[in-house]
């Protein structure tokens, strides 16, 4: 494994980015071994820098918590050349200051929409109201996309709400469920199996079949959750079902 040079960062983190082989169509650039905001911002910054350079042969750039996977066409660019090209972008790379889009997502917490809210409150030694307040108190960042089309891993959850995943995963988590596990939260864009704790459900679609590009989120975006009541949720849902409402990001600040 070849380590990139000149990439020691100013914060004293001695982990120089490492290239890891992932076959002849993908290359991993790994920045560290932790789920960490600074590490993740560097991953996203490298993705942005490479996207801007429009390097021939790069098919896709997939940021994850602590590494970037570069998918490429080996008939257009060889692995060795690609490493050299990427190394050039690593020199002087700063953690991303680019602010992603901000999405405001209303959530109907508790009841049938959030069957785990009371258990989460009990296990965390909090009232349900406090859990809802804490969950909505943070501007989350999308660390990475994965597991399902349109599912973003959002961090970082307030420490008071940290719980391990459920020991008994559900076979069917309803679409649009808002859930937490460990130090993260997410929105299930579609029905799927899942092991996270369900706090509520949003009426809005993050996988919107009414759009040409149905997936709304991308790594680096930000999300804020706010509480909505049953009537508000039902009213919004009626507009969505009638095709009159699609979630859109806030205007740039």
């Amino acid at each position: 494994m070849q380590a990139a040079s000149n990439s020691r960062d100013k914060s004293g983190n001695s982990d120089a980015p490492r290239f890891l082989a992932a076959g002849d169509t993908a290359l991993v650039v790994q920045f560290g071994e932790d789920v960490d905001r600074e590490i993740n911002r560097k991953v996203i910054a490298l993705a942005a820098a490479l996207r801007e350079r429009e390097i021939a042969g790069i098919v896709d750039l997939v940021p994850t918590f602590r590494s970037l996977m570069i998918h490429y066409d080996p008939l257009v660019v060889g692995g060795a050349d690609l490493r050299d090209l990427v190394s050039a972008s690593l020199d002087g790379l700063a953690a991303s200051e680019v602010k992603g889009r901000l999405w405001r997502v209303p959530v109907l917490y508790g009841g049938e929409a959030g069957p785990d809210l009371s258990e989460v409150a009990e296990r965390c030694g909090l009232t349900e109201e406090k859990v809802v307040e804490l969950h909505g108190s943070v501007t989350y960042e999308v660390y990475m996309m994965g597991f399902l089309p349109g599912l973003g891993y959002l961090g970082i959850l307030p420490k008071e709400l940290e719980l391990p995943r459920r020991s008994d995963p559900r076979v069917r988590v309803p679409a649009r469920s808002v859930a937490i596990a460990i130090n993260q939260t997410n929105v299930y864009p579609m029905e799927s199996p899942g092991g996270w704790h369900l706090l509520g459900r949003t009426p809005v679609e993050l996988f919107d079949r009414g759009l040409d590009d149905p997936i709304l989120l991308a790594a680096g975006d930000r999300i804020e959750f706010s509480s909505i009541d049953q009537d508000g949720s039902d009213a919004l849902r009626r507009r969505i079902d009638a095709g009159e409402y699609h979630l859109s990001p806030e205007e740039a600040e």
């Binding site: 494994m1 890891l20 082989a21 992932a22 076959g23 002849d24 169509t25 993908a26 991993v28 790994q30 071994e33 932790d34 789920v35 993705a47 098919v59 896709d60 750039l61 997939v62 940021p63 994850t64 918590f65 602590r66 590494s67 970037l68 996977m69 998918h71 080996p74 008939l75 060889g78 692995g79 060795a80 990475m144 996309m145 994965g146 597991f147 399902l148 089309p149 349109g150 599912l151 973003g152 891993y153 579609m190 799927s192 996988f207 590009d213 149905p214 997936i215 989120l217 991308a218 790594a219």
Partner: protein
Amino acid sequence: MAGLKVIAPGLNPTLQDLGRPWAQHLGAPPSGALDPVALRIANALVGNPADMAAIEIRLMGPTLEITAESARFALVGTATPIEVLGEKPMQAPAHQSVRLTQGRRLRIGGIGDSGVAYLAVEGGFDLPPVYDSLSTYTRARIGGFEGRALAEGDDLPLLMQDVAERSESKAGDGSWQTDDAPIRVILGPQDDYFTQDSLTAFFSEGFSVSREADRMGMRLDGPTLKHARGHDIISDGIATGAIQVPGNGRPIVLLADHQTTGGYPKLGTVISADIPRLGRLRPGDTLRFAQVEQSEAEVARRDLEDRITKVIDRFGSTDPWLDLDALYQENLVSGVVGERN
């Protein structure tokens, strides 16, 4: 719009093209043909671009009725012929194009010689792409026909309602498919999560494809692999062909519908030249792995491309397939019309 009506689906056929690998940053799997080589040859036989969607058939094929005026087909990936049903059932050979007219039914029975085969149709399907691909990903209900496997009664709209009569194209004998050489693997990204004994066993002992095999991946039966540093990693990206080893030590090779990220260590990655061969494997088939370097993988991939180009350049030309039954029907009809006049 007319096209092809599904009379009986067989075993969950889906529409697949070369996938949407560019949408993985959104969490969407690449999807696409399990055997892209067979898809490309099938498309070339009917005169389509390489990346057009075709019907991907696994184990048991569908029965289809032509509702367009006419359509041209090619079946590639199996030696099983297309059965053309009618008063006198006939067979149209695989690996060559055939033009059939409205009302004819074609059936593709069990394909015993490969895990996967493709039925390409000239002009392709008139269906909406998702992220520039018609590939079906059933778990998210996207692509293909309503995001799902084909079912009885579906009417698949075709872009060409009528195709010209012409001499038909014929590929060689399909010998590009037969290859018993080991499946080649590049180590990483997490080969350091495994004991040296396990790495040795992986490349020296044989495996077989278990029954747990689908478009997402195939679990292998063989030596149990031991982790040296635990079996959880912080989720990172997954490439097609990644060999992921969960806590039970049984490797899974990830195929076209794999999730874009995952939290199990990946011992190695099957090289792109050998991915189509993986796609052709069936449960019970045996395989061996061999370790190669990236430079060897790149040479192997260029060799594969050269072989595909050669197969296509050497297509023979053959007379139009004689649809005796249709001719017979036409004569009867014109005879009746003639009497009336």
